[in-house]
Each structure stands twice: as C-alpha cells, then as structure tokens.
C-alpha cells in the first residue's frame, strides 16, 4: 500500500518535472539550493555572511537596473538612496525602536520621495549632465552624514542598532530576535524574491514597455504618447525605493553605520555589476552581483597571501571591466535583442572569413 502511494507520488512528480521547461527547472533548482545552502557541510558563518552580502547587492543592482538598464539613464548617485535608507532605518530603530517590518514599507516610501525630489527637477537634463547631478547628490549625502553630527554622530558612526526581531508579545507570543547569520539569510532570500518578482512583473507591463521605449528612442516614445519626464521620475523613484529598502536591511543586519560605507565607490561597484551582467536583463544583473561580490571577497583573502595590499582589488575590477568591454560589451547575459544582434554580427564576420579563404 505504502509502496503504491510512493510510486504514484513519484510518477506525479515526474510528470510535473516533464511539464516545466528548462528555465523554470533551473530557477526552482537554484531556489532549492539557496534554501538548503546554510545546512551544507562546508558552509561557515563567514560564507553565509558573504552570501547575504551578495543578496543585498542583488537587490541594489536590480534597483539601479531600473534606471540604467530599463531607462538607459546613467545614475552615479544611487548609493545616496542606499545611504538615506540605511540611516533612516538606523535612526528610527535607535531612537524609537521601530520594528523592522514597519521600516520596510517606510523605507520604500522614503526612498521614493527622495527619488522624486531629486528626479523631478533633474531628469529634464540629458546624458552626462544628469549623471553629474546624481554624482553630486551622492557626495552631498555623504557630506551630510559626516557633518550633521547632532543627527548622525558623524564620522564616529551609528552603533548599537537593534537587530531584526519577530515580536509576538502583543498577542501573548514569544519575541524572537535575529541572532547570527541564519535568520538574516532567509530574510534576505525573501527580500530578493520579492524584488525579482516585482521586476519580473514590471518588465512585462505597460510601465515596463514605456521605459524600454524611452531607452530605445525618446522621440518615438513621446510620439506614442509617453510623458518622458513623468515616466523617468517614476523609474527614478522606484529605483531609489529599492535602494532605500536595501539600505534599511543593511542597517539592521550589520547594526553599525558610518558615512564612509556610502562613498561613491559603492555606486560604481553596483553599476559595474549591471554592466558586467548585462544591462536590462534581470538574470544578467543578478549574475553580475554574484560574480563581483564573491570576487571582491576572494581577492580580499587572496591578495595578502600574494603580498599585495587589499586595495589592489580595485585594479582587478578595472581590469575586468576593460576586458568585458573588449570581448563581451553587452555583458555576460545581455537582453534578447542585443544577444541576437551580436549573433548576427558574429555570423557575418565568420562568413567574411570564409569568403576570404575561398578567394585565395
């Protein structure tokens, strides 16, 4: 009897597996891997910490991808929103002991408001001018965090932020604090999944199409009735909101903030992830984040062994970007159209070579 039930369950499972396509199988496989990862034998707390860091950067990179990948605007000040989100979350926790579950939506709204405040006046600018303004904004945020000591304690940093906790005492239940990396790991997975879900749905919607239209041709977009400024501001606000949510997670995870965590370098790193992975492609951007964060950590361990200072890893990033630009300018996993164009290009080159051989 038991055997029969097992057999039918096995058959059912097999049928479901056969029905799902390859992409879905890979996705489900990755998700299962992510869920059981902490229990694999070689996983230490340190590795778990780095994986959480990867997840954090996946959220940030997906957020920036809205502006850079979907809208084609160069935003060099993304880290400003990350910093605002982190400090707002940190200060709200520090002074008012606000629950993290409340902070997430607040951080989202807060980020969106700052995105609109910065975006509405500056998104009229085009190209380089916009990039310069955003760059200035991120510097402004760092200067504010450093100098407004009454609020942020300046360069001393903001220590002692409470960890995330699930507090059920209101309903007579227990209070469970997030200690160690494990609970944060699952929290990060949940946040990444929500982010990817939102990106996925936007990508295939009227809003997403309007953004792609703006990226591909602004004049044609406006002729289709798309209000450029409005849609760019929406993009900027949503992107900033995800940056702020990432920041709020960061604050409650490391429980210490200081202004130099939000230097321009971070913006650049996140931008590199997008370019490396493939601008505009959700999977590509995620791969970019995984590659760059893990490489950064590997180099941090490896370089001292070679007798080099840790900062040399910035050089390594530069080198990788140069090599990418030379050999795979559209990233590891570009959007479908770009990939198709590049395939055509490669085929043409091959044909030309063949023709040359025949002539000889």
């Amino acid at each position: 009897m038991g055997k029969v039930v097992l057999q039918s369950a096995y058959n059912k499972g097999k049928a479901i597996l056969q029905k799902t396509n390859r992409g879905a199988k890979i996705r489900i496989g990755l998700l299962i891997l992510a869920l059981i990862l902490p229990f694999l034998p070689f996983i230490s707390d340190y590795i778990l910490h780095i994986v959480i860091l990867i997840f954090l950067y996946v959220i940030l990179a997906l957020g920036l991808n809205i502006v850079r990948g979907f809208n084609g605007l160069l935003d060099l000040g993304y880290v400003g929103f990350y910093g605002i989100g982190a400090y707002t979350s940190g200060l709200l926790t520090y002074h008012f002991g606000l629950s993290y579950w409340l902070i997430i939506p607040l951080a989202f709204i807060n980020g969106a408001i700052w995105g609109i405040l910065l975006g509405a006046p500056t998104l009229r600018l085009t190209g380089d001018y916009f990039a310069i303004v955003t760059f200035g904004f991120s510097e402004l945020v760092v200067l504010f965090l450093t100098n407004e000591i009454w609020l942020t304690r300046g360069p001393q940093g903001l220590p002692g932020i409470d960890v995330v906790s699930i507090d059920l005492t209101l309903f007579g239940g227990p209070k469970w604090e997030f200690i160690g990396e494990l609970p944060y790991y699952y929290l990060a997975i949940a946040m990444v999944m929500v982010t990817v879900f939102v990106m996925w749905r936007i990508q295939d919607s009227r809003l997403g199409r309007a953004w792609f239209a703006i990226r591909d041709d602004e004049v044609a977009a406006v002729s289709c009735g798309i209000n450029l400024l409005a849609y760019k501001v929406i993009a900027f606000a949503i992107s900033a909101a995800f940056g702020a949510v990432g920041g709020s997670f960061f604050a409650r995870w490391v429980t210490f903030l200081s202004p130099d965590m939000f230097k321009f370098w971070e913006s650049f790193l996140i931008l590199c992830m997008i370019v490396l992975g493939g601008m505009g492609n959700i999977w590509g951007v995620m791969i970019g984040a995984v590659v760059l964060v893990s490489m950064s950590e590997v180099l941090r361990e490896l370089l001292p062994l070679l007798g080099l200072p840790v900062k040399v890893r910035f050089l390594a990033f530069g080198l990788i970007m140069v090599l990418m630009m030379r050999y795979r300018p559209a990233g590891i996993m570009p959007i479908a159209a770009v990939a198709a164009q590049m395939r055509v290009g490669r085929m043409k080159r091959k044909k030309v070579k063949v023709a040359a051989v025949i002539k000889k």
Binding site: V198, R201, A210, D217, A220, C224, Q341, V344
Partner: protein, 262 residues
C-alpha cells in the same frame, strides 16, 4: 466638408533662419493630402510643429476632433498624440531592442492606464487591459501585413517591413489624423505599390492621412489633393493633375528654364 486640421499663418524660425513663413492650408476630414516640396522646403519642420516636437514661432494650428476644435500649436507631443494625431518618421525610429509586438503595444500606451501598482499586483482591470492591448496590437500588425511576425526583433526586420511596423505603431494610438513622413523612401516599385494600397485602406478606416513624399508616382497615385511648399512658403495647392502642370511648381522643382520650356 469639415476640416480636421487648419494651419493658419504659421511661422517657425530657427535663430535667423525662417524655416516656415506664413503657411496657411487646411486638411479635410477623410482625405489623403500630399505635402510636397523640394529638399529643405520645411515639410518635416511643419510636421514637427503639428506633432508638438517643435514649437511654432507664430501662428495657429487648430485640430478638430469630433466637433471639438483645439489649438494645438506649442502643445506637448504626448498631449498631441493623446488628442489623436499620430506620425511616422523620415528616418525610421523604431524601438530597436524590442520585439515587433512590443513596438505596437507601446503605441497603445496613450489609450491605456495601468502603471506601477497594476503591473505588480495584476488586478482584474490590469489583466483585462493587457489582454486588450495584445489583441489590438495583433490586429494592427495584421492590418499592415505583418501577421505572425510579432516575436521578431524590430531592428532585424527588412527595411520595408520596418516602415510598415512604424505605421502599425502609429495606428495603434488610434489617431484621427495620421502623418506619414516619406514612407516610400527607399522602397522598390512593388513595395511602394503595397504602401499606396495600405494608405488607401487606412483612409477607408476613416483616418485622415497627411503624406510627405518625394516619390511622385506615390503622390500622384494616392493623394486627392496636394499642397506644395517651397523655401518655407506656401506655393500651390490643388488636385494632383493641376499641380503637375503648374508652372510655379515645375519651376520650384526644375528651375526657371524648365518652366519656360513647358
């Protein structure tokens, strides 16, 4: 006959250059009007003024849409599109990285509503709207003769098909007035014949067509009335036959000697 568009004493200066000078003409509802003139006459500038891409220096453009007359000179281009004027471009402007069907779906933008919340939550209204967008987009692809090619990437299509896709995208905005900027440029005779047929079918749907074109076969074959401008000024107006034999027009195109010879 009622007018759909009235252009009254329109001026457009670029710095010291007068691109348009005192242009006045009307487009009747339901006709195919050709706008011709030598290179640099200001045809595209006139288009851009109507479409809202350029702001006229002086003068009025009045668009009549279901008994309501609105002055559209200097209005934002997205507002003009929403009122019911669509256009194509002289050098094709498609969304190159997107599929054919997505290009047409973007044309539906100004007739649909949902944004961020709808995209994420996908409530019933958004799902119905999305379904309608897809259906409409397929209809328009069908109409221009690109049936079943929705999944191709726009930039990978042949030139003539890209032209037709641009028309489909413009039609997707549900215009009352469609402005085509040199649609036959670079087409072979068969393709321009198909194009003329398409333009007539568009008119039969009740859409007024304003056509800039250099290919005289197309202009003479499809237009019911022709307006000629030269050096930014109105030169002549009338039926294709009259225009063809008008000495002023021949002079503008071929020079003084040719006009005398004719």
């Amino acid at each position: 006959m009622t007018q759909i568009l009235e252009i009254k004493k329109l001026y457009k200066n670029f710095g010291g250059l007068e691109a348009l000078r005192n242009i006045t003409f009307e487009i009747n509802k339901g006709e195919i009007l050709g706008l011709i003139g030598p290179n640099g006459a200001g045809k595209t500038t006139l288009f851009n003024c109507v479409a809202g891409i350029e702001k006229p220096t002086d003068g009025e453009i009045i668009f009549t849409n279901s008994d309501r007359s609105i002055s559209i000179g200097g209005k934002r281009p997205e507002a003009v599109t929403a009122l019911g004027i669509a256009r194509t471009f002289q050098n094709i402007r498609l969304f190159n990285n997107l599929t054919v069907i997505d290009n047409v779906k973007i044309g539906r933008h100004c007739r649909t509503k949902s944004t961020f919340f709808g995209a994420v939550v996908r409530h019933r209204f958004q799902r119905a709207e999305e379904k309608a967008i897809t259906e409409n987009a397929n209809q328009f692809l069908d109409f221009v003769g690109l049936k079943g090619r929705g999944q191709e990437i726009a930039s990978s299509m042949p030139y003539g098909d890209q032209r037709r896709l641009e028309v489909a995208r413009a039609l997707a905005t549900e215009p009352h007035l469609l402005m085509l900027d040199e649609p036959a440029a670079g087409m072979n005779p068969q393709e321009s014949k198909d194009l003329m047929d398409l333009i007539r079918r568009i008119r039969d749907k009740g859409i007024t067509v304003l056509l800039i074109e250099h290919d005289m076969k197309v202009v003479m074959g499809v237009c019911e009335r022709v307006v000629v401008i030269n050096y930014g000024e109105w030169l002549a107006e009338g039926e294709p036959q009259e225009i063809q034999n008008d000495p002023k027009v021949i002079e503008a195109y071929l020079g003084t000697g040719a006009a005398n010879a004719a």
